[in-house]
Amino acid sequence: MDLSFTPEQIAFRDEVRAWIREAMPPRIREKAAVDGHFEHDEIMAWHRILHAKGWVAPHWPAEWGGAGLDVTRRFILTEELELAGAPSLSPFGLMMVGPLILQFGTDAQRRRFLPKIVAGEEVWCQGYSEPNAGSDLASLKLSADPDGKGNYVLNGQKTWTTYAQYADWIFVLARTDKTAKKQSGISFFLVDMKTPGVTARPTLTTAGTPAFCDTFFENVVVPGENLVGPLHGGWTLAKALLGHERTYIAAVGMSTRVLRRVKRIAAATTERGVPLLEVPAWRSRIARLEIELLALKMTNYRALASAELGHAPGPESSILKIRGSEINQQCYELAMDLMGHDALSWHNEPGTIPEHEASVPPQFQYARAASIYGGSNEIQKNVIAKLILGLPS
């Protein structure tokens, strides 16, 4: 056993750290320092900076504008970006539809879409979930019917389409065969958001920000060349997508950063003149969470070491999803508890509460999504129950 990174990997980490320090524009750095909320244009500005460095798509082959990094360097790059508080890039193009087009698309589709994803010229969103479907993804109803002229006509609704209001394109799962068994009548389409009949209506989240949309499709005509993979074969693509980049799902870097903030808050918050960080009960609570995060990090490293040996991520990665989301939520919960009265503040003007606390209440709210999206934790538990423990149906 060897639990350390190689000297080359450490040198790469140092290079990433130094570059981030250098490359981060002042406005982003100021927000990163207090973990502020990044607006869409700030995220895209950071996308272009990473693109100029060649690191925007670390997992893509160099031929398509990727960095061609091995699995460990990818992990290191992601973790350092998270630790630095850099804006999280929109994952829908880079992490989801891009790799799918690479794997299942035609050459024409690759040439048309991939360069614009890497360059940040076209922004994507994801059309999987539907009202009343939730985690039962295969029960989706959005219909795609051939019009006899080589096109498909889409009718129906998607929901929880994160940042659809900023997107140029959406990838959707649609039902192309209503008579087939649930999973086998679904196809995967790329849809231009400017197509007549597409409407995205943002919904406010409990965090007070418009993150999700309801997206409506009313007689939307999609050319046949925008079908990816075989007709009725969309379920294979949907599953492949869920398997991508599972080693990053634990978000250890992000939680590490939140926990650092927790300690900062604990050091700066006093009760009768004593910093909470010096109070044994609070110290124990922080220590317990830090240990739980360490356990998650080591579990993530075990998955990474296995990926390094070329093993595909197995159902074990559901552990990372479950604990990663739970620990992230606990970090924010602890921050809120430490803040006392300050935790009551909600989107007030700067200076109302200390700046390093201001983003905690909305982030605490938004963190609740982590155990719901990407396959709810209950779904992940079903996966482990069936595929690892072999429990009966």
């Binding site: 056993m1 060897d2 639990l3 350390s4 990174f5 460990t72 044994p280 110290r283 124990s284 922080i286 220590a287 317990r288 830090e290 240990i291 739980e292 360490l294 356990a295 998650l296 080591m298 579990t299 490293y301 075990r302 990474l304 070491a305 296995s306 390094e308 040996l309 074990e316 552990i319 479950i322 604990r323 209950e378 538990k381 079903n382 482990i384 129950a385 690892i388 423990l389 072999g390 429990l391 009966p392 149906s393």
Partner: protein
Amino acid sequence: MNFDLTPDQKLLESTVASFVKKEATVSRFRALRDDPVGWSKSLWKTMAELGWIGLVFPESAGGLGGSFVDVAIVLEQLGAGLVPEPFVASVLCAGTALLRLGGPEEHEAHLAPLIAGDTSLALAWAERGGRYDPTWVETTAIRNGDEYVLRGEKVFVLNGHAADTIVVSARTAGNPGDSDGISLFVLPRDTAGLRIKTIRTMDGHKAAMVSLDGVVAPASMRLGAEGAAAPVLDEIMDLGAAAACAEGLGVMRAALGMTVDYLKTREQFGLKIGTFQALQHRAVDMFVRAELAKSTSILASIKVADPDPAERRSAVSAAKVELALCGRYVTQQSIQLHGGIGITDEHDIGLYFKRMHVLNALFGDEEHHLARFAAQPSF
């Protein structure tokens, strides 16, 4: 990074596992609960012949020069089978004290027969008022010419009831809580004034309460320089805690396995209870917790040999806390999912539950290690 065992380590793992399955079964342990020793000297000898006792001792002391990772592999398998032989007490506790503080003569006299499986040892460090702090030594060793006179009481001495030799900590200077002034003495069990009272522990093991009523020990029985034993005791506490973590992994794995098997076979309401989602999710939570405890236990088994004590303490304390959080959950839920049968003495699952709770209390509980973790410079 690489978490894989070497081919030699895999072989060791499968050897211990099949040995436990054949020779050191849980039903054997059940029978030994009523035995005054509680473990088998012939099995101990076999374990020695297989090389496990000598694993961590350097070749210069007659051992095999292995690593703590090797020991952890053995302990996990022993834990899965609830094997009661005194590996931790003899090898890691008393053995490490003799190895670190003793010279070639002590190694020859005490480690050689231990490694051969002819003797077993104990380390009497705990005192009633000190909880998990090995520097809280009220027992005194007053020098009188070439002799010391020892007075005091030691509690919960693992394997103290059966050990041929007991290594005892006593204060040659200073006050309880001081690091300086603690010395270790090697006392044969028949030493005059050494009173050993066998006690039962919750998990079906035995231990001893030891009192020293004017024990006269020649200076040659002192290990190492006078008053300088604290750093070694500190190291031993970490070895013991890391060992508890490794053993606890085996306990968790076995308890989870038994529980999942039970869910697959037990029927209620006309269905296998393993089809109920509420119970499936509980089993998954147990699995997830066992995996996370494994991750920190691996870290501890590597870092326990780290030359930097702060690194060692951080990793070991983290693993011990995680063991407490996860081990408790896994074994408590094992009982719950077994239902009423789970709290009967005839069913094995209760034995695992008990062993886990003893492991949690040994070498520092959750609160102790949380406080120590938070006291390290890296916190």
